[in-house]
Amino acid sequence: MTGEVLAFSLFSAMAVGGAGLALFHRSAIHSAFALLASFLGVAGLYLNLGADFLAVTQVLLYAGGILVLYLFGLMLVPPEGEAPRPGRRALALVLAAAPVAIFLIAFLARSSWGDPSRLPEPEGTVRGIGLALLTPDGWLVPFEYASILLLAALVGAVHLARRSAPKDDSP
């Protein structure tokens, strides 16, 4: 049990600390690298909950895919120096976030937590996820809708990124 608590504390510290660093660090590249810690921390939390497929997908897609694209994009942008220190805007942000935080804490305080030691041993989740997403009794139709949506987004992105045909500039 203590191992789980220790792992939870470590991974949540990574996730929250990384996210905080990504938000408040003044250099964009450092913020992107701080996101890596956050992504890995979240993956660790998933693992702690027995969601192994989700954890590995988190690392593969966010850390290995999206973050690499972020970094690549940031390297193409000319350096603008460091962002200015957040001054009074930070206070406004804290004030805006406070009600959400209060609501969440109240919500957490009211929920009842079962005894985690009675949970079954975690087992592989790939088979269950595959059957749930790709069988007609499961979520096949919503899954296919989501893929059509993504395909439409991809086609739209290609259309926007394509070099437009040379226009006739003659008067």
Partner: protein
């Protein structure tokens, strides 16, 4: 430094000691945190890949249900280490190398992952151990490349090898370090042990990808004649490990051999090969494999 008598056998040891004892230099303009973190990240992820490799019956660190998927995810972290090294060094050559590394890895991860789908569909598992056990038929020759799906297996095997060359930044895809234009690319500024980590990562990743190709396509530890051994023989793990290592080291040798045979590609040629040839080929193979396996599974 040159050492070693017969065929220079002690050269590797001498090199290792040399790299361990060399001065560790932190360039004055470098980012101290990222510069130090990058080799650790790269080396750590390369070593984590070995956790799921099935070397022989009973010799595997962890038989994860997600085996190969875990390995792919961990392997993608090395790319971030390369970018971190290139940026943290604060050097134009390093930065160019890192950008090429990012572009190359993002492009070749897709054919690499797709080329694994035919064997995954064939064996119906992500677990490398389970896939190896399913190839023990025909007296140890029931390898995926000799199965009835060989016409998908063989092209996907070569596709996997090509894409993993690019993913491991090996020539002819070694643009991130291309010595002739970028000095040493992303690890120009590194010396001593930190440099050794980048070098070791490259070879560790080569071995890990060769081991994956062995486990999925070339039957893993299964070797012809293994049925002659008694059931539960104490020789089996040893001979199995020997067969596995021989196959994997042969593929490593092929990778080295390719390096000294082919000249380095240009960056646009690398991108063209990845996106216009390998990715469509991988998609086609995936559809062919899915069709074939569905056909076979029909009652």
């Amino acid at each position: 430094m040159r050492t070693g008598g017969w065929h220079g056998w002690s050269q590797t040891l001498a090199d290792a000691i040399k790299l361990l004892t060399k001065e560790d230099i932190l360039p004055s303009g470098a980012d101290p945190v990222l510069f130090r973190l990058a080799p650790a990240l790269v080396m750590g992820s390369a070593l984590a890949m070995f956790a799921v490799l099935p070397f022989a019956p009973g010799i595997q660190f962890a038989d994860l249900d997600l085996g190969i998927y875990f390995l792919l995810a961990i392997a993608s972290l090395t790319t971030i280490g390369v970018i971190m090294a290139g940026w943290g060094s604060n050097n134009k050559w390093s930065l160019y190398g890192a950008m090429r590394g990012a572009a190359q890895a993002a492009s070749y991860e897709i054919p690499l992952a797709l080329s694994l789908i035919p064997p995954i569909l064939h064996f119906g598992t992500f677990s490398l151990l389970n896939a190896t056990e399913q190839q023990s038929g025909w007296g140890g020759m029931g390898w995926y490349v000799f199965s009835d799906a060989f016409w998908v297996a063989i092209p996907s095997f070569f596709l996997f090898l090509t894409a993993s060359l690019a993913e491991n930044r090996r020539a002819p895809f070694d643009l991130p370090e291309s010595e002739s234009e970028l000095v040493a690319g992303f690890h120009t500024e590194y010396s001593g042990l930190r440099f050794a980590f980048f070098f070791l990562e490259e070879y560790a990743a080569m071995f890990a990808t060769s081991a994956v190709a062995t486990a999925y396509w070339l039957g893993g530890w299964n070797f012809p004649g293994m049925t002659l051994l008694a059931e539960g023989s104490a020789w089996l793990p040893w001979l199995g490990a020997l067969a596995f290592l021989l196959k994997a080291m042969f593929l490593v040798c092929v990778m080295i051999w390719v390096r000294w045979t082919l000249p380095r590609l240009r960056i646009d040629q690398v991108m063209t090969l990845g996106w216009k040839y390998l990715t469509p080929l991988a998609l086609g193979l995936m559809v062919a494999a899915a069709g074939w396996e569905a056909w076979r599974a029909m009652p």
